[in-house]
């Protein structure tokens, strides 16, 4: 029986960051009770799901991932209880249990409590070490908080810590970005992710962009930040194993790799997405709406769909090409052949982007930089070949 990943979306934030487009809700809008009840409701959602899909119970849990929002705003005992409750439903396993945490929440006491609760990995929302960036991003921590947070986590015994950084911020220079990476490397995290700022529609950031109050980082600069960032971290001993992710040997995110391999992940909590075989569904991205489903003992599924083979191929191509390993010649021979054929029709410059070895087709760093356009072009050539 194949294993299973579990994602738990914790929507609470002390303060909503202006660039974020995940579902979240600010704590000041809720009584303290809401957060206490939340973990219980997630437990009930899981039990509801398992009563409808009992075979899931036989599958060992590979990962549990608390994402958000800001999961570090939950009370550690609540988290402990939920982990206990979740794990008791499945066969015993050596699961990776990740909690996304903001530096300002990572006190020594909390870190110890999370460790005791069974959290094995912390993913820290650092974003930047520059005071100016943190103010712009409306983060609640300062540069010093980051250092002490990592110290607390290490002291509590966390052997798997990841840092999230952002680049292509308005006004950020290449030097500032490199300084950020150096500061991050000094903390010797086990894992690092960096993301170019994405201007999501409907966020306050994008509103300000449209009003001309913020300026997008020039495309060439963004490309250079990505290139140099990747080169720097690789030189520092990190493997660039996915478009935006770096890890020391043996420290890749098990949970996130499930997404890129399209292995099953069940999502719980408001706004969580699930992917089980060819089924995809989404929970309502509204806390109250989601809660009403649970209270009525009803699975909070909205937008359920069964993927058509072509859409599934598109998903697989899109996610596999994000990985360092790319598309395996044996495991996905058809896609591998499609990619080889696509490359053969392209101008020679395309070989800077895609490398076809006898074992796999994969994108290079330069290819990752324009990967959306490449995937788009591949998908269209596939559609044409089908005609």
């Amino acid at each position: 029986m194949s294993d299973l990943g579990l994602y738990i979306h914790v929507p609470f934030c002390r303060h909503a960051c202006p660039y974020c487009d995940f579902y979240k809700t600010e704590l000041r809008d809720h009584p303290a009770r809401t957060r206490l009840d939340f973990t219980d409701q997630v437990g009930r959602e899981l039990e509801l799901l398992l009563s409808l899909e009992p075979t899931l119970r036989d599958r060992p849990l590979d990962t549990i991932y608390f994402g958000g929002g800001t999961p570090s705003t939950l009370s550690p005992p609540g988290v402990a209880e939920l982990i206990q409750r979740v794990r008791s439903q499945f066969p015993a396993s050596d699961a990776e249990v990740t909690l996304e945490a903001n530096p300002e929440n990572m006190t020594p006491r909390r870190c110890e409590a999370w460790r005791a609760a069974g959290i094995t990995r912390l993913s820290m929302g650092v974003q930047s070490f520059a005071e100016r960036d943190l103010v712009l991003l409306e983060r609640l921590h300062g540069p010093q908080t980051i250092d002490s947070a990592v110290k607390s986590a290490r002291a509590a015994g966390f052997g798997n810590i990841s840092l999230d950084l952002m680049f292509a911020l308005p006004g950020q220079s290449l030097e500032e970005w490199k300084a950020n990476l150096e500061r991050a490397a000094e903390l010797r995290p086990d894992h690092l992710s960096f993301y170019g700022l994405t201007w999501h529609e409907g966020t306050p950031f994008t509103d300000q962009l449209e009003k001309g109050l913020l300026k997008e980082s020039p495309e060439d600069l963004q490309g250079e930040m990505y290139r140099q960032g990747s080169a720097f971290l690789e030189a520092a001993g990190y493997e660039h194993y996915e478009i935006s992710n770096f890890a020391r040997p043996g420290r890749r995110s098990r949970h996130n790799q499930r997404y890129w391999d399209r292995r099953d992940v069940v999502g719980l909590g408001p706004g969580a997405h699930s992917s089980l075989g060819l089924s995809r569904w989404r929970n309502p991205d509204d806390l109250e709406h989601w809660r009403r489903f649970i209270a009525a003992a009803c699975l909070p599924r909205v937008e359920v769909e069964e993927l058509e083979p072509q859409a599934a191929t598109g998903e697989l191509l899109f996610t596999l090409l994000r990985r360092r390993e790319g598309v395996s010649a044996t495991e996905h021979s058809r896609l591998y052949n499609d990619l080889a054929r696509w490359l053969s029709t392209q101008p020679t410059i395309a070989t800077d982007w895609m490398v076809i070895s006898p074992s796999a087709a994969r994108l290079t760093r330069e290819g990752w930089l324009v990967s959306d356009a490449i995937i788009d072009s591949v998908m269209r050539s596939l559609a044409q070949a089908e005609r």
Partner: protein
């Protein structure tokens, strides 16, 4: 019905002056349709007509009116298309009448089409009753409308009837005026049959339905008839009148208006303006005024995906069943593959057909920029008509190129005189006349190369006058022009569908603008795209669309994947109108870019 109690008339007006609304009120007032049956603008049948507020196909309705003398009169109201592209159809509808109601909007005054329609009505010897409409509006200026009717149109403005099509005010009085002022038809039932076909439509069960006006003699069901221009004989299977539903009758008498069905399989067999006569006792002479309808604007129509060719062909075939003026023949383009060369009566006609193909027939279309028909004289003396710029032969073998010219009338408030004059000059216009129709409004008469009108003239006129101008045009003949073909090369390969004919004097300038515009339109892609404009092999302009430097989805976890998948789907929809050339994609707008070759 005694023949002296028949009145055949139509309503003529500038677009938006309220013709269809007034027709609706006439139908209501005479009890022809009850209010419950009344859909607004009863006479417009196609959805597109309702939406655009214009009438494409003329129809005829019979109504009965009890006049002041206590007698019941038979009115045949013939609706006319309201746009410049359909001038010939309008003229045939007018020829079926003895009178016309000329509508002038009390808030707008006389406009370009008002005059064009009056001239057509006068050519057909119609009695014209001026009607001032929309008098219910606060901005109505009845005195000014009267003055303009007198001074600009040359009719007696004091005899105009003031009505409101919206509220129905004075519509009864208007009906009485129709009885008094419009003469009854001349009756001649002894001569051989002559009936004018003023419109036709296709019906799935009965074949083509012809709308006719009997001018001489009478026509009965079962009669063997002959189309004098078409030369074919048929047997009349059904005769009827429109109330506005089709109601079969046994006979149409001299002076009457109605329809016939005669198991005619194709609309192409019926020519508007043709004369119907008896096969056994034919008339010696057809009615005058018949003209072959010739398309003046041509464009290439292609499926976006090659495998949709057959479905496009079917859709075009179906559309042609109802539009004899829509000309089609197969065409092949190196760049676009298999498609069709289509001819239209004008720009609006073209737009309507494109929209119908997309909306009603759900076609995924790509169309090239419209072109006029050039007359090319070769050095060896032969002459060819070229309706596709890419087919223009090499300059070495050309003795002379001639292009169609139009005469255009433009009406607008005098404040915009400066911008309009410079627009006309930019469009290579030659002024024929300029005068003030009122203290505020100017009428210009200009002659232009049709190609200049077909490009962005209307849009630019609108923006130069903030939408306050009206214009119409008619083709007046061919004149020699200093013309050359400009080709567009994408990454070194010519794209035939982007070729355009330009004046030699501003070819280089237009080449630069075209290259620049294409650069804005062609999206950045994986590879750099070189765009060049060339005249006779010589590159006159070059632009480069640089390659994408960064195009990557930063985060890709649970929900991001679904979101991305949907985004890709959406992009695919948006890409429907992109044509792939090797590794490069060119959007539909690029093919229209050649229309706007001016800096503004």
């Amino acid at each position: 019905m005694a023949d002296s109690r028949i009145r055949n008339f139509c309503i003529i007006a500038h677009i938006d002056h309220g013709k269809s609304t007034l027709a609706d009120r006439l139908l209501e007032e005479t009890g022809t349709v009850t209010e419950r049956e009344m859909r607004d603008q009863m006479l417009d049948t196609l959805d597109l007509e309702r939406e655009r507020g214009i009438t494409i196909k003329a129809q005829a309705v019979r109504l009965f009116h009890e006049a002041e003398d206590g007698e019941i009169y038979q009115f045949n109201l013939i609706d006319t298309p309201g746009h410049v592209d359909f001038t010939y159809e309008v003229s045939r509808s007018l020829a079926a009448c003895e009178g016309a109601l000329l509508i002038v909007d009390a808030t707008q005054g006389v406009e370009a089409q008002t005059l064009a329609n009056v001239y057509l009505a006068l050519e057909n010897d119609l009695e014209i009753i001026p009607v001032i409409n929309k008098i219910d509006l606060p901005s109505a200026d009845i005195d000014e409308a009267r003055r303009q009717i007198t001074e600009s149109v040359g009719l007696d403005g004091d005899t105009a009837i003031c009505v409101s099509g919206k509220t129905g005010l004075n519509v009864g009085a208007l009906l009485n005026e129709v009885v008094k002022r419009i003469p009854p038809p001349k009756i001649d039932e002894e001569s051989p049959l002559r009936a004018l076909i003023f419109d036709a439509a296709y019906d799935n069960y009965r074949g083509v339905i012809c709308y006719i006006r009997v001018v001489n003699g009478r026509l009965k069901k079962g009669n063997k008839i002959r189309f004098m221009k078409g030369g074919m004989d048929y047997e009349v299977t059904e005769i009827g009148v429109l109330t506005p539903r089709q109601v079969p009758v046994d006979e149409l008498r001299c002076g009457e208006v109605g329809y016939i069905a005669a198991a005619i399989r194709e609309l192409a067999e019926v020519r508007v303006g043709d004369t119907v006569t008896h096969a056994r006792r034919p008339a010696t002479e057809a009615l005058s005024g018949y003209r072959e309808v010739k398309p003046v604007v041509f464009a290439g129509l292609y499926p976006v995906n090659a495998d949709e060719y057959d479905s496009l062909k079917d859709a075009i075939g179906k559309l042609r069943m109802n539009d004899a003026a829509f000309f089609v023949e197969p065409e092949t383009s190196d760049a676009l593959g298999f498609g069709f060369r289509c001819g239209f009566l004008g720009l609006l006609h073209m737009e309507i057909i494109q929209e119908r193909l997309e909306r009603e027939y759900n076609q995924n279309l790509l169309f090239t920029a419209p072109s006029v028909v050039y007359r090319v004289t070769f050095t060896n003396g032969t002459v060819a008509m070229i309706d596709n710029p890419s087919k223009m032969p090499d300059p070495q073998v050309i003795e002379m190129i001639e292009e169609p010219y139009v005469q255009s009338r433009i009406f607008f408030p005098k404040d915009y005189l400066g911008p309009v004059l410079s627009l006309c000059q930019a469009k290579k216009g030659e002024q024929r006349d300029m005068h003030f129709v009122s203290a505020e409004r100017v009428q210009l008469t200009y002659e232009f190369p049709l190609a200049e009108i077909v490009s962005d003239f209307h849009d630019r006129l609108k923006s130069a006058t903030q939408g306050y101008a009206s214009f119409d045009y008619e083709v007046i003949g061919y004149r020699e022009g200093r013309l050359v073909k400009m080709d567009v090369l994408v990454n070194g390969d010519p794209v035939d569908a982007l070729s355009v004919i330009v004046h030699r004097d501003d070819a280089a300038y237009k080449g630069r603008i075209l290259a620049k515009r294409l650069k804005e339109i062609v999206p950045r892609q994986l590879y750099a795209v070189a765009i060049q404009a060339a005249i006779g092999g010589k590159i006159v302009a070059r632009e480069t669309v640089s390659a994408l430097r960064k195009d990557v989805t930063a985060k890709c976890y649970g929900g991001d994947i679904s979101r991305k998948r949907k985004l890709l789907d959406k992009q695919k929809e948006g890409k429907k109108r992109m044509k792939q050339f090797g590794t490069i994609e060119i959007p539909q707008e690029a093919f229209m870019a050649v229309l706007r070759l001016s800096e503004d």
